[in-house]
Structure formats: C-alpha cells, structure tokens
Symmetry: C2
Subunit: 544 residues, 2 copies
C-alpha cells in the first residue's frame, strides 16, 4: 500500500523559492577592502535569475558543470542558487589545491564555465594551459583578468544584459546539484556529487534545534570557505531559514574578521580551530566585541578544549565542536552537551567529536569486521549511512571506501550509549597489535604532555609476533635531556600496558604536510629505509 502524498521533489529550487518568498527582506552582507556591501534575499534572488539566464546563453544546459573559484561572497551565493536550480551542477573549486590537482579536478569534472573572482585570476591562470574543457571564464569584479586571455566575460555585465524572471525547470531530486572534490592523502582527488535531495535534506537537517537551530533572527558568518563542503552547508541552510549571511570575502585575517564581527554582530559562525585561535590571540591585544555570537561551530580538525574554555571565560562565547566529511555534506555530529550535563562538564562535552546528528546513522567496525558496542570504550572504524552521505564518487567508484552500503569514514573511535562519539585516530594510523588496536594519537598526546617533549609522532612498524607495534618518534625540547626508558616510565599508568612502545627514535623534527599535519608516510618510509635510529626499551606486554 502506497501513501497518498504528493510526489514533491526535494530540490535546491524549492529551498530557493522558500527563502525568497518568505524571507525576501533578509540580507547578504559582503566584506570588502573598504567597508561592506549588502543586498536583500529578494535582490540576490533576482540576480540569481539573471545569472541563470546568462549561463544558459553561454550554452550551459542540464547537467553541465559550472566551476566557481571564489571566496565567500554574495556572488558565490548567487551561483549556489542559480546553477543547481537551472539544472546545471555547481562545482566549487578549492583555491588551495596544488596546481596539478586544480587542473585535474576541473578537467575531471569537465567544467564548461568557471566563475572566478578577479583577486584569484593569477592563481587560476597558472593552470590555464592544462584546462581541456573550460569554454569561458566569467570574472567577478573589475580587476585585471588578462592572464586568462582575451575571451573573459565580466559577471556584472552578463547580469546587466539579462532580465529577471528566469523560467526554472522542474527537476528530479536525484539529479546532481553540486560537486566538491576531496583531496585524500593518496591518489587523485575524488568528486562527491551532492544531489538536490541530499542538499535539501542536509539544509533542513542542520536548521533543526538539535544542530545549528538557525532562524530568521540569526545572522551567520561562514568563515569556512564555500569551496569546503559548501561551507558546511550553511549558505543553503541560511537561505532556507531566512538567516542573514555575513560573507567575509577574502578577509580571513583576525583584524578584518574581528572588525566585521563587531560591526555586523553575527549570532552564529563556523570555522576551523586555527581561525578561532588567531581571533583569540588578536582579541588579547585589541578591543573586540564578540558577544553577539551565541554559537560558534568549530570543526575540520580536533578542537582543543583550551580554546573552548578561553572563549567561554574571556568572551562568554560558546564554541561547539562539529564533525563531518565532504562525503557527508558534511554534517555527521555536533557536540551539544546532553541534558543534565553538570556545568563542570559542559566544556568537556563541547570538545568531544560530537553527538550523532538526526538523519545520520553510525556503526563501529573493529579490525575483524565485527560491529562494536556503543559503550564509550570499545573502538572501531566509524561507518556512516544516511540520505546526505555519499555512496560513490564521480567516475571513480573507489569501492575500498564503502562497506555493505556504509561509508567508511577512515576515522577510528568510540560511541557511548547516548550516541556521543569520540574519534581517537585515523584508521590508517591505528596500530593493530596482537588483535587489539592502539591509538597513535593518544600515545602522541600523552607523550607530548611530558615536560621534555616538544613533539611526538607514533607510527606502526611490522612485528613478527604482534603483526604491528608502535614506534615512538620523539622531538626533544631544545636543551632537554631525557631518555627513552624515562618516557616509557612516564607512559606507564597513563595508557594500557600493551600500548607501551618498546621501539623509540629521537628525531630533530616531525615531517609535516603542506597543511601542517604530521606526515607519517615520510616517517614510515624512513623507517623502512633504515634511516631511523631505533632504540629498544623493554618488551611488548600481553593485552590485559
């Protein structure tokens, strides 16, 4: 027996209509070199209509990809609304990709038109000779664009030449709306293609009071770039909810950001921890008014509890960690403390990876492929399912990323009986020793609490008896004198006995990736090549 309900497709166009019809007076404010500019949702919607008309004239048809090479601005939002609603596919290009990756993703997605901000023209021009599918560049702003050749078009001129009142097509909810490439540590970037349905559902999901709870009474400042998993979905959610969007453009340094915050008084903001650390430091020396913020969503990497505490104590601003992946649209969890949390534990909870969001299902799979219970202690790789979780990649199925219809997140952790998860490691960095898992991250964090240790990276090395064992690579603080057995003694009682490394190496520094993360690949290679001097202290213990 079927329901008698309408077959109403869940589309970006329907979000778009709601925001413009009900919240036409809400505003999009964009930060510029000098001051700000502001438009209403109604004005932005009309400009999106003109943009769609212009793109159609440029030959963009159903399913064609339109790239954006932009910061967070009003024009980028216009593309967010127009491109999917006209039946084309928005491809947000990460301006921080290495040139070869950038060329790869544009060619792989077969972008036909790229919208590019004038300030970013030089960056895009670097890959110009490699691009095989782009027919037109549309430059936003009036800056010099000669590096892109003679055929560049100007965004404002294109819009001015069109009429409002675009005739939006009916769309199927499974159609592609937007795509975003993830840059994994190995292999080529992989394209996640959000459908209209997944975008609609994610947008609705994150307006729920259990997640961001944004309404028309909020003003949201997305600092996380719109080329990173759609700025965590905030532009669409704000449009749906009538929440003002405060767009920081390219001004992501603490000074302009803090002035923008003081002036426009956002109630909600979203950014990676690095941004908030910079803001915190800036606020120590400069008068900054952050108190309009009722919620700061922080994610992208683990959020230090000290950061949450400092914001709470010094600015009465509530930072809450959220976790997700490009493959998850991105929201998977948010660390709102559960009810009845004592005040003393409020910050601790907010620093956790988070509570499973409605709409998302999770399970933990251990090294033997078995489901692990939610007891807050047992660890396994986190697998996820849900209407806004991806099932494959664009022309790149990558079956190793999926498991019986679940997405393998590559993160390892535990979940407690209230659905609160804690990620302890990346699956590839976990050390599988004697059938048990050892968290390299926890060993590193414990070691780095030792007064003589500057940095520590722990990697798995092969072991005849235990399959893998941890090797602790330690950087001493300048002038510090400490030996491996003392560090091992320090760990004892702080971690399980069978975690205690018997292999140690003192190194001058931990190799890092371009974004500053520990590059364990390099350490593993050095070990394999016999280039690390390994000391052995004690012996591996049986798991208790």
């Amino acid at each position: 027996m079927l329901g008698t309900m309408q077959e109403y497709p869940l589309t970006v166009s329907s979000l778009f209509r709601h925001g413009r019809q009900v919240y036409g007076a809400s505003r999009v404010v964009t930060l510029e070199e000098k001051g700000t500019r502001s438009k209403t949702f109604a004005e932005v919607a009309e400009r999106a209509e003109r943009l769609a008309a212009a793109l159609r004239q440029l030959g963009i048809g159903p399913g064609d990809r339109v790239g954006t090479f932009c910061w967070n601005t009003q024009e980028h939002l216009e593309a967010y609304l127009a491109v999917p609603s006209m039946g084309a596919v928005l491809h947000t290009l990460n301006i921080r990709l290495f040139p070869e990756q950038l060329a790869y993703v544009i060619n792989h997605a077969e972008d036909k038109v790229v919208l590019v901000e004038d300030s970013l023209v030089p960056l895009l021009a670097k890959v110009l000779p490699e691009l095989r599918t782009v027919r037109r560049f549309v430059v936003i702003g009036s800056g010099n664009a000669s590096a892109l050749g003679k055929e560049v078009l100007r965004y404002d001129e294109l819009l001015a030449a069109q009429q409002p009142g675009f005739d939006w097509p009916e769309l199927d909810e499974r159609q592609a709306a937007a795509m975003c490439y993830t840059s994994g540590t190995t292999g080529n970037p992989k394209g996640v293609v959000y459908s209209h349905r997944s975008t609609w559902l994610h947008s609705f999901g994150i307006t729920s009071a259990a997640i961001f709870g944004i309404t028309e009474r909020d003003r949201l400042l997305p600092i996380v770039p719109m080329f990173h998993a759609n700025a965590w979905g905030t532009p669409y959610a704000c449009w749906l909810a009538g929440t003002d969007l405060l767009m920081p453009g390219r001004f992501l340094q603490p000074d302009p950001l803090c002035r923008f915050i003081s002036q426009e008084k956002p109630t909600v903001s979203a950014a990676v921890p690095t941004v908030w650390t910079a803001v915190l430091n800036y606020a120590e020396k400069n008068p900054v008014q952050l108190s309009s913020l009722r919620l700061v969503i922080c994610g992208g990497s683990a959020v230090p509890q000290s950061l949450i505490e400092a914001f709470q104590v010094r600015h009465n601003v509530r930072i809450v960690q959220a976790w997700g992946m490009t493959e998850m649209s991105p929201l998977g969890s948010i660390a709102h403390p559960p009810r009845d949390t004592p005040a003393s534990e409020d910050v601790t909870f907010r620093a956790k990876t988070g509570r499973i969001a409605p709409g998302v299902e999770m399970r933990l799979i251990d090294g033997a492929g078995k489901v692990v219970p939610w007891d807050g202690e047992s660890v396994g790789e986190i697998e996820v399912k849900g209407p806004w979780v991806c099932a494959s990649y664009a022309n790149d199925p990558a079956p190793e990323k999926f498991h019986d219809g679940w997405l393998r997140t590559g993160d390892v952790g535990s979940i407690d009986s209230r659905g609160f998860m804690q990620i302890t490691d990346r699956a590839k960095d976990v050390i599988k020793s004697g059938g048990e898992w050892i968290s390299s991250v926890e060993l590193e964090n414990t070691l780095m609490a030792h007064p003589s240790v500057l940095e520590a990276a722990v990697i798995a090395v092969p072991d005849d008896r235990w399959v893998e064992r941890p090797l602790a690579c330690v950087v001493k603080k300048p002038g510090a004198v400490v030996e491996a057995h003392a560090l091992r003694d320090f760990l004892e009682g702080r971690v399980a006995k069978f975690w205690l490394p018997e292999r140690w190496a003192f190194i001058p520094e931990v190799p890092k990736t371009s974004v500053g993360k520990f590059d364990k690949k390099v350490l593993r290679a050095r070990y394999a090549d016999g280039k690390l001097e390994v000391l052995v202290v004690g012996a591996a213990q049986w798991p208790a």
Copy 2:
C-alpha cells in the same frame, strides 16, 4: 547527471532507530487515574519490538491496517513506532466520530486488528455488528472488555509472550506508514495516507528552530489527540529529537491537566484553543504552575488574541498559533512573529494564522482561477504543495480537492510579503459578489461587535445582478431592540461599501453543527425554502 549520494529511504524505522540509539534515556510519562507511570525510550522501543512480533503472529503482514482506538498514552506511541516500522499501516481512529462514521472508516480502511483502550471498549462495541474486516481486538488495560465478544486479546499478555529484537524489514519510503480520516462536512470521511517519506520529512521539519525547535532538553505535552493528524506530528518529532513525551491519557479536564503540568513541567504543549481557555479559567481559581512552558502551540480553530494575551500577562506563557490540515500532516504555518517585531505587536502576530513553514509552498487563487499577489490584502483560496501534503485520498480520489497538483485547502485568506498568512473565511462561505469576494466571517465578527447582537451568521444568496449577495441573519440579545438599518449603519465605515448587506433576517438562534460551529447549510436551505423572513434595506454598491 545524477548525484553520488546513498539511496537511503526516509522511513519511520529510521526515526525509530535514531531515537532509541541516541536518546534511549528520554522518557515517556503517562498520566493515570492515580499518579503517573514512566518508561524510557529504550524500554518503549523494546516493547514496540514485542508488539511488532505479536502483530505478525496475529497475521499482520506488509500493508495491512492496524487500527488504534486510544487516547494519548505510551501504548499508543508503541503502536506509532511498531506498526509502520514492521511495514503495516497505523490507522488512528477518531473516538469522537459518530458511530456510522466510525464503522465506515474501519470498514473502508479494512482494519484487520484494532488496539483499543479498556475505557473505550463500550464506545467501540457500539459499532461491533457493522465491522466487516476486523479479526481481532487487542485490549490495552485490564478493564472489562466483554462487550467486544470472547475473542479479545490483552495487550500486555501479547507483549509478555514475545521476545525483543524484532527483525525490522527494509521499506520503500513511498509505502504507507499511517492513515487518518478527515470528517468533512459533506460526504463520507476521506482517508489521508501518510507515507514513510512524508512522516520522516514532517518530523524533521517541525523540529526545525523555525517551527517547534524541540530538542532533548524539552518535554512536550501533546494534548491534541493522537487520532487528530497524529497529534500534529509531535510523537514522531519528539522521538526523533529525544524530547520527553508527557501523555495525558484521557484526563483532558483542566484539573488533572494542570496538576500534570505542575508536576511534570512540560516546556512545550499543543492543543486546541478550547483546552487553553478551560485551563485559563481553572487557573483563576486554583494554584497552577504553568511557567515551565516556553511554547504553547495552539490551532485547530482560530486562536482568540485575548487568550494569547491572558496567558502572556497572567502566566508568562507564550501561545503561538499554528495552522494546518490532516491533509498536510498537518503543519502548514506557525505564527512566530518575524524579526524586528515591536513588543507591542508581538501578541497580534502570534494570533495570526501564521507564517508559511519551510517545506510548504502556498499560492492564492481568486474566483477567476488567477494567482493573487502576496500583498497582505488580496484574498484567494489557499492552495498548498509540499512533500508532506496529500495528493489524493485512499480509494477516493476526490479531484475537486486538487488543482494542478496543488491541494485546495478550502480556506480563503491573504498572504503578506513575508509569507505571513491570514485566513479570513472558508471558501464555501465566501460570498462571490460582482466578481469580488466578501468574507462572511468578517461581516459576522463585525456585526457581533454591536451591543445589541448576540450572534450573526452571514450566508450567500443568489442575486440576478451580482450573482451572489450577503444575507445577514442576526440573533438579538435578549430584550435588545435594534433594526436592520441601524446595523447597516453600524457596518458602514467598518467594512467595504460593497460588502454592506441589503438583505437582513432576524432569527431566534443560529443553527449549529454537532461540534458547535455555525451550520450555514441549514440557513441556506431555510432561505431556499422561503422560511426566512427577509427585510431589504438599501441597495448593493459597486466595488470601489
């Protein structure tokens, strides 16, 4: 180009899993004759598993209908979770239907099993001889059930005989989850069949901060019955959000309700205006603690502004009007005041029909079938569209209720530029005069403000020149002396000139329906039969 996202069906089972896994410690509290009883979501979930196993043993298969004849209780919630999740269809029976309607809906839906509360056995037994499809009655409670024959089963015994751990099937999101009959004023009741998808989406929708914004920190008291459009969707939404459910059972009188509120401290509640009026009166004479309520959702009929004011002033409790229909799952709008509403207008906004909810589309269609602008003045019939709006009825397509894929609500009103709607009349009561519409309700309300008028009902009567004209049927207050021309003078300046009725009838009382509404059908019939004495005063004016 299609998205690469998972084909994850939106089902009641998925809501069910989320609530039990993440909010297993949330509670369902049921009010009883003496005191309350309480179970956790985890316990309720386990009982739902046993219920599903028991129903399967009774022969309930995919798509079979299971009726419920129950108040708002924990057991009713168990049926809400178990029946759709096992692939069967929950049919909530309105205990207030006339016997012939009740028999009609049970037979029309072909209910195989009916779960019935012991206190309601006598009511159901009245229609026993008429029932053609019911094989088994399952009685909740230990009260006498002999009126239903010898074959009755006991709910608790059935559950006790089963094991938890039911193997829930995979479901298609378009499958029927639940059904609810609407009792229109004419013809047989019509069955609205909610799909899994529509139920999932409505549940997600109403947890959004723009609608009810409920979270795990809330406790919700649904006074609106679970047989009225699923208690406005609150049981599913609460389960999804981990919100405690406070179930009032059959104790809907102000005395037990107020004690329940004082004791259990709900933060949100939902009921028709009559309930809140009774609570208000009760609270004048009895000590009542209502201050735990942060939001009272009120709907089902127009909410008097005076009621909202009284709750605000006397109890600091915020009543907000919501509007919808069984055909809309039911939520269509909610009257949260828009941002920047001055404090002086806050109550006025909350008494409006409401702002269009995210997920719902509306348009206004005038008498000529044209779309009317959203200017807050132009009126038309409200038509709605959306993923939780029905497209037809169970085995009863009723094409006159639909228009180009939109549901005709039968309500007439205006919408302003911010999506705030105001219903002014029922479409069938609107008077179509000279190509313009005259609101019978507004004429009635204005007339009833005259000191000599007790009641007034305005109906359309045929007119050679204007097609229709209003006939004002007036009941004078006892002992009052007033004439038609004085009433016409009173209206002048208060309504548009072309609205002024020239036909008047003084009647001893306005005929009423069984639920106390004006029965205009009877008045129209009396007029047609020449049984009303009509005075003519003045003449119809041209619309300005």
